[in-house]
């Protein structure tokens, strides 16, 4: 059975063909044809395998017959093939199956067998215990792992001598060699069976620490990077220091001990090896920790120092602890500081509020407010708006806080005494504070203190008012209970009244203080007083608002202050009046008729001021001065009178005569009213309203329940109070804000705001609106009373209120300060022209006090301006001229030194002469170097062409040269080129200039100036000239060769060109061209280069021929000679070009 490979088969051969073919030689069992195809599917090669049962002879025969025989389009190739892999595989599998059946022989046995075969008998491998010697070999041992290793005898160097000694001794002794051998343990014997490894065993004691402990003490755990990796960033050094200081200062010894203890704990954890290092550290750390203990708190600096060290040395935990502590301490500190602040700032306020309210809430509120205020208090005078708003808020909140207690006063009488006691305390406390405030004010301090003072005043007022009202209530109650009992009540009342009187006494003080120190009021009054005057005059401009307070206005509008409250915004000291009035009211309540009368009177008074204003308008301010003063004085007597009234009324009542009382009250009221009337309309409404408020209930009281009335009364009174307070506060805030503005103002007249006319107008307008609203409001109140009805005005008022006038300023009218009136007169420093200037100067800047300008500025300006103007005109020019001269002289010297012979011996005294001289010099230079200049002149043309696209820089130097050389010509051309751009007008002038230019060589002093300008024109106009010179048409076509040619041409033509241009200049008619334009002549020439090129070619050819001859003579190959000749010719051409092209520019 053989497998034959049959190659070289035709593609068409089938298995059957093969089978038939090989069937002759033997039995064909299997035929396999394989066809290999290329990528397109066409058969490349076909071969087959034939399994045939064939004998060797047959096979030989087959091969001889069939091999290399052609059959069906292919040459057969027959070879014996390998077994089919399938067949082989099957066989292998069979074998494997057979193997499984047969048992596997162990390798050991095999070895043993092999050993036996080798002749080794009884070889026991297992018997080879380490250390057993190999039988036939002397120094060979079986080692621990069954290897056979030699025993080494190593010479031990250290004991060498000794061994030697021993050796000798042994020789001398001449004993047995074996002994000697035994004796010689000088040689170190290394038995491998005894040492399997050279690893030293470690002492088990060394790693005694447990793993868990080790993890805690990893050094890497505490280093910075790992900390950061854990997200624990070390606190910033600065903060650390600070906090540490604090912590140290604050930490009690126990804390420190704690820390120390913790440190110790940490140290305990440390392993023995580490303890050494730790101990080194620990002393440090402990020292640091204990330093504070030892030193105590006072030593801050030292502690700080140590703490800083701590941060470096101590463990993270400690640091953290310290930091945490420090933070806690810091927080504490901060809070305490805040408290301190509060205490410092709001001393009066807090105390009062606590006393007054006795409530923690209010305290807190006020504190908060104070803090906010304090924070924001430091503002420039320019920031009045902000201050006002803030203060406004504050005042509102204050009112809230204050009125809580007021409402609380609707307590049973039993609480009254307590309250009074409190009040007394409050007053006692208040007085010193007011004094301090006074001192503050007198010293005219910062806003802060002023504000505090104001707040203080307000509070005191509130207190007193509240008290008084309370008293009044009580009295009224008593009165309403029984008129007959009034006597007894009032007699008992006096006991209460004296208590109240101190409060009224405080008022005078306050009033006095205001008179003395509280300029703001006056200022306010003064501010609005003039407005008041001019109200009637400028009613039409009513809708314009005061610019400075626009923002504040809006804010105030938004503030829910009722119009009534506005009405009752009399000055702080006016609050005493209502008090008095309330007393009066109480008295009046008994007699309705009288009240009516009073109301009527008040109405009259109301109407009076309304009308009065018009009448008084002119005289008002004048009058108002004294009135205001009166006012200011008045509070003292007034309050006194009121108190007197009280007392007197008491007395009167005790007398039991109502009529007398009423009269008394009338008189008092009249007093009030009169003062009010004189002062202004505002007081009237206030008094009115108080009347209204107080009276109406009492009217009812006769008919309805007393209790209700009381309550109503209380409420109303509270409301009244509130309004008054609000009014006061607002006013004071404004005053305070304005006072800061006005203080410098009053002193130096630096105030700018109201001096300019427009602003004044604005001011005027505002108050007018306000006033109207005021009066209308008063009328409204009248309406409410039912006595008078003025509906129109009410409407009007609404309009005005809508108009958005600043309501804050309503109150100030009553204090029409005549003093400040003079502020609106022309100030002395603003008089005259200079004054006007100053005013302008000042008005340029805002109200900002930082930029206020004195007369100094003006003077300096005024004085300096004129000379400056002169000097600036004259001096600098001269200076510059001088400088220029100097520079030129220096330049001369420099140039002389460096390059030139001194041509400029004539020092140019004047610029003109210099320029002239320079020109001459240039001309001289040009004459000196004529041939150079020729070339250069040509270069100008070329360079202009080059530089035409880029910059005119390259012209500069080259232009100059022609300028030097052909001065007049260039001028002519320049002017000529200049001409086209101008209209025909200038032609005459040009002619003149041209003419002049020709005459230029004659030294006409007169003509000197003109030519110069002409010259300069030329220079400047060169750019414009360029298109003429360098027409792009001519440029583009020109190569280097052409340039050369052009050169020659132009050289010839230059002179003629210039001359022709000069001649033709005046006669030109076309815009771009003129008759006989050179360009027209020259231009075509540039297009006819072929002839010349031909000429050149001829010349080249001649040369070439010559060169060829030369080369021939030099015995070169003909072709190469030709080539060389070409090259050389080209070179020569180039050279010639260079020569022709002028030396100015070397082409490299």
């Amino acid at each position: 059975m053989k497998r034959l490979y049959v190659g070289g088969l035709g593609h068409t051969i089938s298995q059957k063909d093969l089978r038939d073919r090989f069937g002759k030689f033997g039995e064909v069992s299997d035929v396999e044809i394989i066809t290999r195809n290329d990528e397109y599917g066409a058969p490349l090669k076909t071969f087959g395998y034939v399994n045939i049962n064939i004998t060797d002879s047959d096979f030989k025969r087959c091969v001889t017959v069939l091999n290399k025989s052609k059959w069906k389009g292919g040459t057969l190739q027959i070879e014996l093939a390998k077994e089919s892999f399938l067949h082989r595989l099957a066989e292998e599998r069979q074998q494997a199956a057979r193997k499984v059946q047969t048992p596997a022989i162990e390798p050991k046995d095999k070895i043993v067998e092999s050993l036996k075969a080798a002749g080794v008998e009884d070889f026991h491998m297992k018997a080879a215990v380490p250390g057993t010697e190999i039988p036939g070999h002397k120094n060979w041992v079986v080692s621990k792992f069954g290897r056979v290793l030699p025993v080494l005898h190593l010479k031990c160097q250290g004991k060498n001598k000794i061994s030697f000694f021993f050796y000798r001794f042994i020789i001398l002794a001449s004993t047995v060699v074996i002994v000697m051998k035994k004796m010689v343990f000088v040689f170190f014997k290394y038995d491998p069976s005894k040492h399997c490894h050279n690893i030293k065993k470690l002492d088990p004691k060394e790693d005694s620490t447990s793993v868990s402990k080790l993890t805690w003490e990893l050094d890497a755990w505490n280093d910075e990077i790992s900390k950061k990796r854990r997200g624990e960033f070390p606190p910033q050094k600065k903060i650390l220091k600070k906090s540490k200081i604090d912590s140290v200062t604050r930490t009690t010894p126990c804390e420190i001990r704690k820390v120390a203890a913790s440190e110790k704990r940490i140290s305990v954890r440390v392993t023995q090896d580490d303890t050494m290092a730790k101990e080194e550290l620990n002393p440090l750390g402990q020292k640091h920790m204990y330093v504070p203990l030892a030193k105590g708190k006072p030593n801050y600096l030292g502690q700080k120092h140590t703490c800083v060290l701590d941060s470096d040395a101590d463990s993270e935990d400690e640091i953290r602890i310290l930091v945490a502590q420090a933070r806690l301490q810091d927080r504490k500190l901060v809070t305490t500081e805040d408290d301190d602040k509060l205490e410092v700032v709001g001393d009066d306020f807090v105390v009062k509020s606590t006393m007054f309210c006795g409530g923690g809430e209010n305290d807190l509120k006020t504190k908060l407010e104070l803090t906010t205020l304090n924070i924001d208090e430091e503002y420039d005078s320019a920031d009045t708006d902000e201050i006002l708003t803030q203060n406004k808020n504050a005042s509102n909140t204050d009112c809230l806080t204050k009125y809580v207690p007021v409402s609380e006063y609707t307590l049973p009488k039993s609480s009254k005494d307590k309250v009074k006691g409190k009040k007394k305390d409050a007053k006692k406390d208040a007085k010193p504070s007011t004094e301090s405030d006074l001192s503050d004010e007198s010293s005219s301090e910062s806003l802060d203190s002023e504000y505090r003072a104001m707040m203080g005043n307000c509070h005191r007022l509130d207190l007193s008012l509240a008290d008084l009202e309370h008293l009044v209530q009580n009295l009224e109650e008593a009165a309403s209970d029984e008129r007959n009992d009034e006597l007894s009540d009032l007699t008992t009342g006096p006991s209460d009244l004296p208590k109240a009187s101190p409060s009224s006494e405080t008022m005078p003080i306050k009033a006095a203080s205001k008179k003395r120190g509280n300029n703001p009021e006056d200022i306010l009054a003064s501010l609005f007083e003039p407005d008041f005057e001019k109200e009637e005059k400028k009613k039409k401009i009513a809708k314009l608002s005061l610019p400075a307070f626009i923002g504040s206005k809006d804010l105030f509008d938004s503030v829910p202050v009722s119009s009534r409250s506005r009405l009752k915004r009399p000055a702080g000291y006016m609050a005493s009046e209502p008090k008095g009035e309330s007393k009066k009211l109480k008295q009046d309540s008994k007699t309705l008729s009288k009240q009516r009368a009073l109301e009527g009177r008040s109405k009259n008074q109301m109407s009076e001021p309304l009308h009065q204003e018009d009448a008084v308008a002119t005289g008002g301010p004048v009058r108002s001065i004294p009135t205001e003063k009166e006012e200011k004085r008045s509070p003292l007597p007034h309050t006194g009178s009121s108190s007197k009234c009280c007392s007197s009324s008491d007395e009167m009542e005790s007398d039991g005569s109502n009529s007398s009382l009423s009269t008394e009250s009338e008189t008092s009221e009249e007093e009030n009213n009169s003062s009010n009337v004189v002062l202004g309309a505002v007081d009237v409404p206030s008094s009115k309203q108080t009347h209204v408020n107080a009276a109406s209930p009492f009217q009812q009281s006769t008919a309805s329940d007393l209790l209700k009335q009381q309550q109503d009364n209380l409420k109303r009174l509270a409301a009244l109070e509130q309004r008054q307070k609000e009014a006061e506060q607002q006013k004071k805030l404004i005053q305070g804000a304005l006072s800061t503005l006005d203080y410098p103002n009053a002193n130096k007249g630096k105030h700018i705001v109201f001096d300019s006319d427009e602003e004044v107008n604005d001011d005027k307008e505002n108050p007018t609106v306000q006033k109207k609203s005021l009066f209308e409001e008063s009328s409204l109140s009248d309406v409410e009373d039912g006595s008078g009805a003025q509906g129109k005005k009410g409407i009007k008022e609404k309009e005005f209120s809508k108009a958005g006038c600043s309501k804050l300023f309503d109150s100030s009218e009553d204090e029409d300060g005549g003093k400040e009136e003079d502020r609106f007169w022309i100030k002395p420093q603003f008089e005259g022209k200079a004054g006007q200037k100053l005013m302008e100067l000042q008005s340029r800047f805002g109200t900002d006090s930082r930029f206020q300008m004195d007369a100094k500025f003006l003077e300096s300006d005024g004085e300096t301006e004129e000379p400056d103007a002169e000097s600036s005109e004259m001096a600098p020019e001269q200076d510059l001229i001088k400088e220029k001269k100097k520079n030129l002289s220096i330049l001369q010297s420099v140039l002389n030194v460096s390059i030139q012979p001194s041509n400029m011996s004539k020092a140019q005294g004047k610029r003109k002469t210099f320029s002239k001289a320079a020109r001459r010099k240039k001309r001289e230079e040009a004459k000196k170097l004529p041939e150079v200049s020729n070339k250069i002149y040509y270069d100008v043309m070329v360079d202009l062409k080059e530089s035409f696209g880029a910059l005119k820089e390259s012209e500069g130097d080259k232009e100059e040269v022609p300028w030097d050389k052909q001065d007049d010509e260039d001028e002519a051309t320049g002017e000529y080129t200049h001409l086209p751009s101008f209209s025909s007008k200038f032609e005459t002038q040009k002619d003149a200039s041209c003419g002049f230019k020709f005459s230029f060589f004659g030294d006409n002093t007169v003509s000197d100036t003109i030519p110069k300008t002409a010259e300069y024109k030329i220079e400047t106009l060169k750019g414009a000239k360029m298109p003429w010179h360098v027409d792009p048409r001519f440029q583009d076509s020109s190569s280097e060769d052409e340039d050369v040619e052009e050169e020659e041409e132009t050289k010839d033509q230059t002179a003629s060109i210039t001359t022709t241009t000069q001649e033709l200049a005046p006669t030109k008619k076309l815009f771009f061209f003129y008759e006989g334009d050179i360009r027209l002549k020259e231009g075509p020439g540039m297009f006819y280069r072929n002839e010349r090129l031909e000429d050149q070619r001829d010349s080249w050819e001649e040369r070439r021929a010559g060169l060829i001859a030369v080369s021939k003579s030099a015995l070169y190959v003909r072709e190469s000679v030709d080539r060389c000749a070409d090259v050389t010719a080209a070179c020569e051409c180039r050279v010639s070009v260079k020569k022709g092209g002028g030396d100015n520019c070397c082409l490299l």
Binding site: D879, L880, K886, A918, C1145
Partner: protein, 180 residues
């Protein structure tokens, strides 16, 4: 800001004359207005009279620069030309060197000009003569000093320096902060 002293003026003019020769007087004595040199913070500015007047309003320490900076005086009182003066000096330059486009960039990066980069040079340029460097498109690129005469330039090998770099317009970017 002050006018230059005589010494300073001389130093500066000597330097400028290396580039523009006697054309300095065209800078000093200008037809279109009065111009002057002013020293400010060791720098020399070329200012028109108008600007000078305006600049008087500015305090000395606040004034960074006015007009055109021509250069600065070193501590040793030598004058060093700045590239900012290029616009004024290039038109009057007497000796020029044109740089091949390939070498332009190299020069603008502050390198000297090799012979290989030299496109064109004014004839008769002396050694150490101040030159204005132009690109082949005739854009002034900066100042240089001829390291070799024109004749020498013909002979030297291509890698030898022919113009020393003094200032180039690349400085507008490279030393923006110091160029004022």
């Amino acid at each position: 800001m002050r006018p230059l002293t005589d010494e300073e003026t001389k130093t500066m003019f000597e330097k400028l004359s290396k580039y523009i020769g006697e054309n300095i007087k065209l800078l000093v004595d200008r037809p279109d207005g009065t111009y002057c040199f002013r020293l400010h913070h060791d720098r020399v500015y070329y200012i028109s009279e108008k600007m000078l007047k305006l600049a008087t309003n500015i305090s000395r320490n606040k004034l960074v620069s006015i007009g055109t900076c021509f250069g600065k005086f070193t501590k040793t009182q030598k004058f060093r030309l700045h590239v900012t003066a290029l616009d004024f000096l290039a038109p009057y330059a007497k000796y020029k060197v044109w740089v091949k486009p390939g070498a332009e960039q190299s020069f603008l990066y502050g390198n000297h000009i090799m012979k290989s980069g030299l496109g064109r040079i004014t004839e008769n340029t002396a050694q150490y003569q101040g030159v204005v460097i132009y690109s082949m498109a005739d854009v002034p690129l900066g100042f240089g000093v001829a390291a070799k005469t024109t004749q020498e330039c013909r002979k030297v090998d291509p890698m030898s320096i022919v113009v020393f770099h003094q200032a180039d317009i690349g400085e507008y970017i490279r030393s923006e902060d110091t160029l004022t």
